[in-house]
Symmetry: C2
Subunit: 235 residues, 2 copies
């Protein structure tokens, strides 16, 4: 039946308070973010509709939305797939993250009040816990929450959607990276970030955020990981 490699997508319970399209969007977004769909694998509306047990319509809408966020790529022949990656593009995405996120952090700094600071401290602690237990999945999720909580302190935030788009594009390949994370000892840059926040030192905060991002993917520059990009993403 399936000529191509079968797609396995993690399904979550559907809440009746959200539309089917939203649930499909969320499900596919997670599947992309966590690398469950191989880059270059052609996706068809009807196939996904079958897997998710919904009609083609919500899938159509969700795919278009994900494509608009650069999580998916629509080829000229109107085939949809997770974009392939190259080492150069990976590097550009990382540098873009650093530029935008350090900007967002500095812009959020003046708005961080006591309850927000408490939330950040809580997340920081939970990251430390997860790191001791070596729970890579949890570290990754909490790390995202930490960044999100920081940037959203700014009530006039406009960059978060852009940042999330970058996360989505890097997501499938960060999975490759984090699988080798345990071999490395990571300096906890969040503590440095927390210190900068408490001192209201924007420049130090930018340095800490930049370092956090850069170290999270530093070992992506090793030859074997670059090779796995080609392997996963090549034709």
């Amino acid at each position: 039946m399936d000529k191509k490699s079968p797609i396995k997508i993690t399904l979550t319970e559907r809440d009746d308070s959200v539309t089917i399209t939203q649930w499909v969007y969320r499900t596919l977004r997670n599947a992309v973010m966590y690398g469950e769909i191989l880059p270059g694998r052609a996706l068809t509306i009807r196939e996904l509709a079958g897997i998710l047990d919904v009609s083609p319509m919500p899938v159509r809408e969700a795919l278009r939305q994900l494509a608009a966020e650069n999580a998916l790529e629509i080829q000229g022949n109107r085939r949809v797939m997770v974009p392939r990656m190259t080492a150069m593009k990976f590097n550009e995405l990382c540098e873009a993250r650093i530029a935008i996120e350090s900007h967002a952090a500095a812009r959020a700094l003046p708005y961080i009040d006591t309850p927000c600071l408490q939330r950040l401290r809580d997340l920081d602690k939970r990251i430390d816990d997860a790191q001791e237990q070596g729970d890579l999945e949890q570290i990754s999720i909490l790390n995202q929450n930490f960044h999100r909580a920081l940037y959203t302190a700014n009530p006039h935030q406009v960059t978060l959607p852009l940042i999330e788009s970058l996360w989505l594009q890097l997501g499938p390949f960060m999975r490759l990276a984090t699988s080798k994370l345990d071999e490395h000892y990571l300096v906890d840059r969040h503590n440095e970030a927390m210190a900068a926040i408490e001192k209201k030192d924007a420049f130090a905060l930018q340095l800490a955020i930049s370092a956090d991002i850069r170290e999270g993917i530093a070992f992506a520059g090793t030859p074997e990981l670059l090779h796995s990009f080609i392997e996963q993403s090549g034709q």
Copy 2:
């Protein structure tokens, strides 16, 4: 028939080589960008379908795509509209533009070759011409093309979609700004940018781009323009 203010959308000829959805998307995108749709005005699928003389389906897809790019906002009650603006949000959008675009410019600099440089010079000259003739519409379009041409010199470009999203969000309100542009004399920062490019001076290029963006919206800080935000965007 129309209880609300009627919507006037500039229609272009539809090329049969593009899908109806793409044409609708392009048309609505231009309408948003050039401020033809008032912020806060509720948009309905069927109304737009009637105006554009297409079935509701392509409109549905186009609206969802524009919403994903933050050009439109879907409220909880699933009503769609051009987002309202506030002075603070406007400021954040401008600062985000400066941060991301100066980054994109610096990243593109190493890739600028002779033909690309020629294209930029050509655009620069045409902007000068348009400025002498006081053709504000043309200046705005050419200015965008200049920035786009610069950033896309980088073949591994990943920030342009993010930048275009910011342009889209600022678009409706830049129209307000440019209508007062003739009262101001603008230093041509593009000449400075060209000089920096030729000298391969990344820092000078970033300064020129930042200044160009900042001056393009500097007078947005005047009280009367802020007031027109409230007027246009207020409930």
